[in-house]
């Protein structure tokens, strides 16, 4: 029983560590900002989740009493990672991209984060067309 627990905890630690280092290496290695966003928000969060599960198993098998505290942190991290990713992606879009450089979103609307008050609409070809479009929509 103790042997199985040791193998389980060691495997969780090694897998978590590998995921963590891969996620952080992706932050250095990947070519541009939007792809770089993928590595830490997914891989590194998963690595930390693995380590916290190992900690949970360690205290359940070898500690004085089992505790579910680590699961709470894991859940908190898993809930907040997408929100962090969304905020960073949004700030990057507004900082370094113009509204008409973005890919077409396929509908008769602008990207939601640029809203109705974006300086140029994505639909239509010329500027005159754009302004009438926008006036009609407003």
């Amino acid at each position: 029983m103790s042997m199985i627990a040791e193998i389980l905890i060691s495997a969780l630690l090694v897998i978590g560590g590998l995921f963590g280092v891969i996620g952080s290496y992706g932050l250095v290695k990947l070519p541009d900002q939007m792809t770089r966003l993928h590595a830490p928000t997914k891989a590194a969060t998963l690595g930390v989740g693995g380590v916290l599960l190992a900690s949970l198993a360690w205290f359940a098998f070898f500690g004085e009493h089992p505790s579910w505290h680590e699961l709470l942190i894991t859940l908190f991290l898993f809930v907040t990672a997408p929100i962090t990713g969304l905020m960073i992606a949004k700030s990057h879009m507004h900082l370094s991209w113009h509204a008409d450089e973005l890919p077409d979103c396929g509908e008769d609307q602008n990207w939601a984060t640029y809203g109705a008050s974006a300086e140029r609409s994505l639909v239509g070809n010329g500027t005159e067309n754009d302004s009438t479009d926008r006036d009609m929509r407003e």
Binding site: G17, L27, R36, A44, V51, S55, H69, M87
Partner: protein, 89 residues
């Protein structure tokens, strides 16, 4: 066996922290720095959890929880600040 796995995980997350530090120092944009700082917080939580296993104590739970919350709030506040020039409108 757990001890070796623990030291391996320590090395992994230490290396991850160094990668984050590199990205903070040589970042092409501000949002990259925010992302690197957020990853640094997450890696630090893992290091503290490993430290708790190594010393066989549950004392570090509160530190991890506080670091997770403060890291999340500060990341969102920083992103919001460079997005709008203001944190709370």
């Amino acid at each position: 066996m757990i001890e070796y796995a623990l030291y391996f995980a320590f090395c992994c997350f230490g290396l991850g922290l160094l990668f984050c530090l590199y990205r903070i120092l040589f970042a092409p944009g501000v949002s990259d720095r925010i992302l690197a700082l957020d990853t640094m917080t997450v890696n630090m939580i893992a290091v503290i959890a490993l430290f708790g296993i190594l010393h066989d104590t549950t004392m570090y739970f509160e530190i991890m929880m506080l670091l997770a919350m403060v890291g999340f709030v500060s990341t969102v506040a920083y992103a919001k600040f460079i997005l709008r020039g203001d944190v709370i409108e």
